[in-house]
Structures are given as structure tokens and as C-alpha cells.
């Protein structure tokens, strides 16, 4: 408990320092609970998520960093490895490939990388995975783009 709190506090300080260094990630700690974090990440360029801003919710367990944080998308996203309804993310480093040397910041970076490189063979969103697996890149792109515009971009006008 004490160890996780101390580590999160260190991460918090690190985040304050690195804010400028990584403009794609904005990590915010809950005012009253250091185990609850949210993050805003920018959709990577040259993907259907470009220009969108996606919100992530972190729930950090007391055994952190020996155990991984639970992360999910709060913003709706059409991606093979993200559950369309719950926002749950299928990413190995959040499950069995977790290492205590990862940080919340590096988890965000890994999620951005996952957005750019989906793994259609282990899909949480089967519709999205099937589009990619059947080679319908255009279909995938336009669906993902539509949801990015609907959910992750400021409404115009």
C-alpha cells in the first residue's frame, strides 16, 4: 500500500515534469484519490484516429507496480482490440506481460502504439477485427473515422 502510494506520487511528479516532453499524452490524477487517474491521448497521425482526443480511465491496484493498472477507454472507439461497449483494452502488457518497470505514462504510449497497429487476430471488437482480417481496409478506415469524428473530435458549429 505504502509502496504503491509512494511510487504513484513519484510518477505524479514525473508527469508534471514531462508534460511538455510528450505532447500526445496528458495524465491527470484524481484530486482526492491517487489510485484513480485519467489520461487524454491524441490519436496517432496517419490513422483513422488522427485528430481525435481519447480519454482513458486508470484504476490502480494496491499491489501496483507489481500488478498492472486497469485501463479502459472512456471515449467510444472502433478498434479491434477495444471492447465497443465497455472500452476494455486487450493488450498483453496490461495482462500477463506486465512488468513493474512500466509506468502509467508508458502504458499510454503502448496504447497509442496499439491504436496505430491493431491486432485483428485477437479481437475484442469482432466486427472491426473481421473487416481487417477480410482485407477491407477501406471499410475499417471509414468506420473508425466515423466514430472518431462522432466521439473524439469537438463538434463543429
Amino acid at each position: 500500500m505504502q509502496a504503491s502510494r509512494a511510487r504513484l506520487f513519484k510518477e505524479y511528479k514525473e508527469v508534471q515534469r514531462e508534460k511538455v516532453a510528450d505532447p500526445d499524452i496528458q495524465l491527470v490524477c484524481d484530486d482526492s484519490n491517487i489510485f484513480k487517474w485519467t489520461a487524454l491521448i491524441k490519436g496517432p497521425s496517419e490513422t483513422p484516429f488522427e485528430g481525435g482526443v481519447f480519454q482513458l480511465a486508470f484504476a490502480v491496484p494496491e499491489q501496483y507496480p507489481l500488478q498492472p493498472p486497469q485501463v479502459r477507454f472512456l471515449t467510444k472507439i472502433f478498434h479491434p482490440n477495444v471492447h465497443f461497449k465497455t472500452g476494455e483494452i486487450c493488450l498483453d502488457i496490461l495482462k500477463n506481460a506486465w512488468s513493474p518497470a512500466w509506468t502509467l505514462q508508458s502504458v499510454c504510449r503502448a496504447i497509442i502504439a496499439l491504436m496505430a497497429h491493431p491486432e485483428p487476430d485477437s479481437p475484442l471488437n469482432c466486427d472491426s477485427g473481421n473487416l481487417l482480417r477480410s482485407g477491407d481496409l477501406r471499410g475499417y478506415y471509414s468506420m473508425a473515422r466515423m466514430y472518431t469524428k462522432l466521439a473524439a473530435m469537438p463538434k463543429k458549429g
Binding site: A3, R7, K10, L66, I93, P100, A101, W102
Partner: protein, 528 residues
């Protein structure tokens, strides 16, 4: 006192022959925990000395090759560098970039440790890489892995995400938080030797609960699908092929079907058996929930009958007087489903009965060994008869109960149209069963009489002759039964569309309703 010399002579010769029978060579070895450890240690030591590596490195290498020493040597001498990289035993760990002085920050807890006396004590890497973490974080990392990763803790890696450096036994032992963790790690190491073994399907744990033995089946070829009984030192017998309790000579797939069915229906069937009687009219099971014997079946049957005699309830019903040979002929209209259930219950009841009888026999046999044999020994000490015949009879009973139990599963699955086969099988089974009952009775009840009552030695010798003869006889009956089940009665099934008369054995054509020779009824047409 002169015992019957003649029979005694035969008896002793019989017993001697039994004793002198050479121990059958078993195709498998039961390994105790110490044996497994010893084998594992031998392998590890061999690798240590041949490759000049430490014990912890040898463990990592052997586990990578599924404990196959020769494969490890082949790989190692072909591609040592590649093997080292794969398992994380780097030859030259990258040079420590930090200076030995100044401070050090742990990448897990982000704590900074000042230089000084305890500097090196806090700065720990996996010895194969230059990723340093503080002692407290290492302890947490290791204990979490031992607690959660199962056998995976044996291939623990450096916490750095991009580093594959191995964390070996030596390091775990230094840093394990509690001695319980060390014990757990050693248990996983032992389990790994059996469960990760390259000799898959040739070495496995005894499935009996609480048993620590493993069985090494040296010559197992597999693939045949046939039953293959293995007897562990804990006295549990299991089938090597399907891991169920021993069921030879019945085949594994028959047993699997039976167990599945038994899981589905046994509870219901049991309850019905214990608590109900079938309505004599519609065969629906009825539970008696009121005191008087006047029963009325539910609509649409509405049959009224007596709970005791199951006869119809007339105006002035009475079943107090004994009448010979009165049969109720009203149960011709059985439903097919009900028939099937009845049929299943028939076999299941006998399967259970033999199972329980065997369990009881196991307990009784223990008592015989612990108490009765000693009593008998004291009682007849002067004449000093050999008492091993009692042990043999009991062992025979226990084994035959097992075979008989599974023979009911076999019988249940004999295809309906193969009447000849079933008839012949049931004949063998019947012989075996009634014989076994005699033997069981003799070993159970009559033995008791000899223990408790003060009988002369002649009586005991007579009892001995009887029990020995029964044991041999029952042995032969069961040999026949086992052979029939093993061969699946091919000689019978080859009859095809014929049936053999059970009175005169004449082989009739399938369509004949009566035996051409003796006019007895065909079992095909005679059966319900």
C-alpha cells in the same frame, strides 16, 4: 491331532507355487518424491559438470529443453550463444553504465538511494544484465511471481520489459521474502520435472488425492485407446490412458460414456431408487407421503393400488395371506423412455453395488490383516498353518469386484441387436457373479466363525481347502469374463443375423421366433 495330510499337501503345493511365481515384470515404475528429486538432481549435476555452469543456470537450461539432457547438449554444442540468448543466460552482461559512486534510482519504486556503505546492498541486478532494482522491489517482484505465476515462476525474467535476462534459483533463494516461498519454489521445481517433461505421456502424477507419487511408464506406446491399468504405491489403481480409476478390461471410451451418463442421471436415479416405487399401472415412480397403504396414482392414470403388494385396491383389499405364484400381468404398457431408464437403473444399481462392495471389502481386508490374521495365528500356532490363503482370497475379491463393476458398464453398452453376444456375456457374468458371492461369503462370514468360535483344527483345514478352491475357481470364472470383454466376443458377433438357442445352443435364423430344434422361444422375440 493329524490334519488331513492329503489335502494339506495339495494346499501347500498350491501356495508354494503361488509364492514362487516370478514377479511379473511391470512396464512402469512408481517414483516416490525422493526418487523424482534424485533423478532431477542427477540430471542437474550432469549438466553442471558437462557444461561447467552453476546449478541455477543448469535448471534454467534443462527447463528450456523440457528436462531432456541430450537435447540440451545437442543444442548447446551447436548453438551455445543462441541458447544463452533464448533462455536469458547472457555470457557477457553489458557493462554497468552507472558509476559505482554517487546515487542510484530504482526503476520500480523510483526511490533514490545515496552512495555509501549500503549502496551495493540495494543495487541488485539479475546477474545477467545491467538493470538494477532495489532490494525491496526485487523481493516484491519475486514473491508475487511465486504466488501467482505457478510453474511460470521458474522462468522468471528481469523486470525490465525489453530484457530477457533470467532470474535463477540462487537469486530467488537469497531474495525470497519467506521460507514458505522457497518451499513453494522447490515444489514447483519438482512438479516441473514431471509436468514439463519431454517424455510426455510417459511420466505423470498419480491422480489419487493427496498422493505424491509419480508413475514412469517406460514402454508406453499409446494410441491404442485400450485400457492400461497402473497401480500406484498408494494402492490406488488408475488407467494410464484416460486417468480414470482402473477399469480394465473395459475400454476407455465405454468408461467415458458410462461416467458421463452416470454424472447426468445418477443423482436422480439414486433418489428414485431409494424413495419410490413404480405405479404398477403406468410405471411412474411414486413417493409415499402419507401413512395409509391405499395409493392413488396421479391423473390420467388414477390407478388405485396397495403400497405393500402393488396389487389393485379392491373394495376389501387384503394382502396379508401368502399366495404362491401370483403375478401381476398389467405392466405390458411400458413407455420406451421408462424402459430405457429401467434398463439403465438395472445396470447402474449393480455397478454401484459392486463398487460399494469393493469399498467395504477394502476396509474389511484391512481389518483381516490387522486383527484377524493375528488372532488366527495365535489360535493355531502349534500347527502353524500358512495363513496367506486368506490374504489371497481377499485380494481376489477386491479385484473381482472391480472387474464385475465395470462389466456392468460393458454390458450396458452391448448393442441391442447383438442378442447372442449379450446372452453369452451375461452367462459368463452370471457365473462369475454368483461364484464371487460365494467366495465373498466364505471369506467374510465363515472366516468370522472360525475366529470367534472354538473349532477344532480339522474344521479350519476344511475351511482352508474350501476357500482355496473357491479362490482358484472364481479366478478362472473371471479370467473367462475378462477375456470375453477384452476380445469383445468376436466369435458371437460374427453370427450376424442369427441367434443361438440358450437351451440347446442351436443357431437359428434371425427371423425365427422359436428354436427350430427344441421350440424354446427366441430371446429376440421373447424379450420386452
Amino acid at each position: 491331532m493329524m490334519p488331513d495330510m492329503e489335502s494339506n499337501h495339495h494346499l501347500n503345493r498350491f501356495l508354494r507355487e503361488e509364492d514362487q511365481k516370478p514377479l511379473q515384470h511391470l512396464p512402469y515404475t512408481v517414483l516416490k518424491e525422493a526418487d523424482i528429486s534424485q533423478r532431477q538432481l542427477d540430471d542437474i549435476t550432469q549438466v553442471c559438470s558437462t557444461l561447467s555452469v552453476a546449478r541455477s543456470a543448469a535448471i534454467i537450461l534443462l527447463r528450456h529443453c523440457n528436462w531432456n539432457v541430450s537435447k540440451l547438449f545437442d543444442n548447446w554444442f551447436d548453438e551455445e550463444d543462441e541458447v544463452r540468448i533464448t533462455v536469458g543466460l547472457f555470457k557477457n552482461p553489458p557493462v554497468d553504465q552507472f558509476s559505482t559512486y554517487g546515487s542510484f534510482t530504482c526503476e520500480i519504486c523510483f526511490e533514490t538511494f545515496p552512495g555509501g556503505d549500503d549502496f551495493d546492498d540495494q543495487r541488485i541486478s539479475s546477474t545477467f544484465c545491467d538493470h538494477f532494482y532495489c532490494r525491496a522491489c526485487w523481493v516484491g517482484y519475486i514473491s508475487k511471481s511465486i504466488a501467482n505465476d505457478g510453474l511460470g515462476c521458474l522462468s522468471l525474467k528481469c523486470p525490465h520489459p525489453c530484457c530477457g535476462a533470467a532470474v535463477g534459483e540462487d537469486m530467488i533463494f537469497v531474495l525470497a521474502a519467506e521460507s514458505a516461498d522457497k518451499d513453494k519454489y522447490l515444489r514447483y521445481l519438482l512438479r516441473s520435472y514431471v509436468e514439463d517433461s519431454y517424455r510426455k505421456r510417459k511420466i505423470k502424477w498419480c491422480p489419487a488425492p493427496g498422493c505424491d507419487h509419480a508413475v514412469d511408464f517406460v514402454d508406453y506406446v499409446g494410441g491404442s485407446g485400450g485400457a492400461c491399468d497402473v497401480s500406484c504405491l498408494c494402492s490406488y489403481k488408475f488407467c494410464w490412458n484416460c486417468n480414470e480409476e482402473a477399469h480394465s478390461p473395459v475400454k476407455c471410451d465405454t468408461v467415458a460414456k458410462w461416467i458421463l451418463k452416470h454424472k447426468d442421471e445418477s443423482e436422480n436415479t439414486n433418489w428414485i431408487l431409494v424413495n419410490t416405487k413404480p405405479c404398477p399401472e403406468c410405471r411412474r415412480p411414486i413417493e409415499k407421503n402419507q401413512g395409509c397403504s391405499h395409493m392413488r396414482c396421479r391423473a390420467p392414470c388414477k390407478f388405485e393400488f396397495c403400497w405393500i403388494c402393488l396389487g389393485p385396491w379392491g373394495g376389501s383389499h387384503s394382502c396379508n395371506s401368502y399366495l404362491q405364484g401370483v403375478k401381476n400381468e398389467s405392466d405390458k404398457r411400458k413407455e420406451v423412455a421408462k424402459l430405457n431408464l429401467d434398463r439403465y437403473i438395472h445396470y447402474y444399481e449393480r455397478w454401484v453395488a459392486n463398487h460399494e462392495s469393493r469399498q467395504k471389502a477394502l476396509v474389511d481386508f484391512q481389518l483381516v490383516q490387522d486383527v484377524h490374521l493375528k488372532k488366527l495365528d495365535r489360535k493355531y500356532r502349534q500347527t502353524n498353518p500358512i495363513l496367506s490363503f486368506i490374504t489371497e482370497a481377499w485380494l481376489k475379491i477386491i479385484e473381482c469386484r472391480r472387474v464385475l463393476k465395470w462389466s456392468y458398464a460393458y454390458g450396458y453398452y452391448i448393442p441391442k441387436h447383438e442378442h447372442g453376444k449379450r446372452q453369452f456375456f451375461e452367462y459368463l457374468q452370471g457365473e462369475a457373479e454368483s461364484g464371487l458371492e460365494k467366495l465373498h461369503h466364505c471369506a467374510e462370514v465363515e472366516l468370522e466363525e472360525h475366529i470367534n468360535a472354538d473349532k477344532p483344527i480339522e474344521d479350519f483345514i476344511e475351511f482352508r481347502t474350501k476357500l482355496v478352491q473357491l479362490t482358484v475357481l472364481i479366478g478362472n470364472y473371471f479370467k473367462n469374463l475378462v477375456r470375453a470383454m477384452e476380445n469383445d466376443l468376436p466369435e458371437i458377433s460374427s453370427f450376424g443375423d442369427y441367434w443361438s438357442c440358450y437351451i440347446c445352443t442351436y443357431v437359428n435364423e434371425g427371423s425365427a421366433t422359436m428354436c427350430v430344434m427344441c421350440s424354446s422361444q427366441s430371446p429376440v422375440h421373447g424379450e420386452v
